[in-house]
Amino acid sequence: MSHLEEQLSAFIDGELGHSERERVLSHLARCEPCRFEAAMLRQLKQRLCTLRPPEPASEFLTRLLALPEATTGDPPAPPSGFGASPPLGAGQPLGGLPLPRPERRPAPARGLFRFRGEWGRARYAVAGVSMLAAALGTAFLAGGDPAEPPVVTPALTDYAIEHAAVSGQSPLGDPATVPVVTRPLSPHDAPTVQVVQTVNRGVMRSDTPEHR
């Protein structure tokens, strides 16, 4: 018998269609190892769900905020193309050492270009954050309920009576849990479901030979 493998994960995540779901349930009903694996996956998922979303490190935020200042005077990274580094055993790269870079002098700011130096690479970060915010915002809007379903109150009393009608007739069932539906105290009170009155509480003891 082949086991469920990847299908099990999809089942736990509720991603399977009806027929696949039925097939997985059918397999789980017969396969102890898969049932165990499902329980483990479920526990793992529950633990992951309880984790909070990660907070950005304060160091990262500080570095992000400091980016505009950091970009103004930094030289570009040294060239890394073919011939830029010395061959094995050689003291200098092919074609000799690169010429010393002339000292950069800040150009006078003109029009819109005066902002270019201040923004530098920071503008990419800002653009990235903006895109992320836009994507999250779109997903948040799309994730809302398309049409708010009507608010309902399950008629628990009716359900309990209906359930009793079925469970009370189960061939080997037990009337242990047949609920008692109390009459309303006044015509304005709704009926409520209560369970049978407890007559004692204690440790359950079985008088079968195995439990003596």
Partner: protein, 357 residues
């Protein structure tokens, strides 16, 4: 070249036909295997099934009256006990009356409608799920009884039954949780058979509540149609709980389905309706948060009650089964909706993904 193509045609046609036939055969065999995977597993059962079938038949056919003591362990590990007066008359039903110290109580008449086919289905499910064998004779009160044990594949005991040797009626029942602990017991503290039918009929004429199943029985085609409309109505839950009956009430947006599942020993009812709970409290149930989702629960009286909303539907579960078993079984149903920011964003990405598809 053209001559080559002409001669190659018939030569290749036969293998191609054979390949297509093989492919068809493979598809058919895969379909057959898929169907068989959907079918319940092979029957287990054993010599105890005959004893239990007789008990099921007797519980309907025989007149009897007695006091039944029932005990259960709830999800907090607390054990509780109650006493019930049981009165059964063939063709009328079973009148269940709690024996309260105060004398107050509501009589509930169950079984006034025949449940024949479903009763047989439940026994079939029992035979499919468990190894059922007799355990010899013992005494239950003053009566001689035959013991039957139902075990899972791993040898763990799922339930024990003791039936009256003389009449065949079920005298005692124990249900075990998946941890192996006793979770529910019930036993006739006293019992007499063949009670005066006229007196019994007089009493059963005056029940406070008559419990009858909803009239609209759902056939497989109606179930399929509802599933196509987005209703989650599984054919089976975990731990061998099979759908044994499907009913409904109401029409349109007010329709409510009632699916009954059984593993042969316990019964779980799942009620489903369109809508949401709107964050409101449910009378008699306590609000609890599970994995960041709101669930309303109560587990008193040996019955686990649970209400939650998921994907535009409200699910209500009433389960007469051990707490640990119920907790595991219900994972086959849709999980409760979470309402946090990241859950909504996750749903949104999923929906956008489906739009792009």
């Amino acid at each position: 070249m053209s001559g080559g193509r002409d001669t190659a045609g018939p030569r290749w046609r036969a293998p191609a036909t054979a390949a297509v036939l093989c492919l068809l055969l493979c598809l058919v065999s895969v379909a057959v295997v898929g169907d068989s995977a959907d079918r319940p597993a092979e029957r287990r059962g054993g010599d105890g099934m005959a004893v239990l079938r007789r008990a099921a038949e007797t519980s309907v056919r025989l007149s009897y009256q007695g006091v039944r003591v029932v005990s259960w362990v709830d999800s907090t590990g607390r054990t509780e006990t109650a006493r019930l007066n049981i009165l059964h008359q063939p063709g009328v039903g079973t009148l269940v009356s709690p024996l309260h110290d105060t004398g107050e109580g509501t009589n509930l008449l169950v079984g006034s409608t025949p449940w024949g086919r479903v009763g047989k289905d439940v026994l079939d499910v029992l035979e499919t799920n468990f190894w059922v064998r007799t355990e010899g004779e013992t005494q239950i009160g003053q009566r001689s009884a035959v013991g039957v044990v139902a075990q899972r594949d791993n040898g763990q005991v799922a339930a024990r039954f003791w039936t009256d040797e003389h009449t065949g009626l079920l005298l005692r029942r124990e249900v075990y949780d998946i941890s192996g602990e006793v979770a529910q017991t019930s036993v006739f503290e006293s019992i007499q058979f063949g009670v005066d039918a006229a007196a019994l009929a007089e009493e059963t004429r005056q029940p406070d509540v008559v419990s009858r199943p909803w009239g609209d029985e759902l056939d497989p085609q109606e179930l399929r149609q509802l599933r196509d409309e987005g209703w989650v109505l599984p054919e089976r839950l975990l731990w061998g709980f099979e759908l044994v009956e499907a009913r409904a009430t109401g029409e349109g947006d007010e329709r409510i389905t009632h699916l009954t599942y059984s593993d042969g020993i316990s019964v779980i009812s799942v009620f489903t309706q369109r809508g949401s709970l709107g964050g409101a409290a449910v009378t008699g149930l306590r609000r609890t948060e599970e994995d960041g989702a709101l669930v309303h629960v109560a587990d008193e009286g040996g019955q686990h009650q649970r209400i939650w909303e998921a994907d535009g539907f409200v699910h209500t579960v009433l389960a007469d089964a051990p707490a640990g078993l119920v907790a595991d079984v219900l994972h086959a149903l849709p999980p409760p909706d979470r309402h946090g920011f990241w859950e909504r964003v996750g749903r949104g990405f999923e929906r956008v993904g489906t739009w792009l598809d």
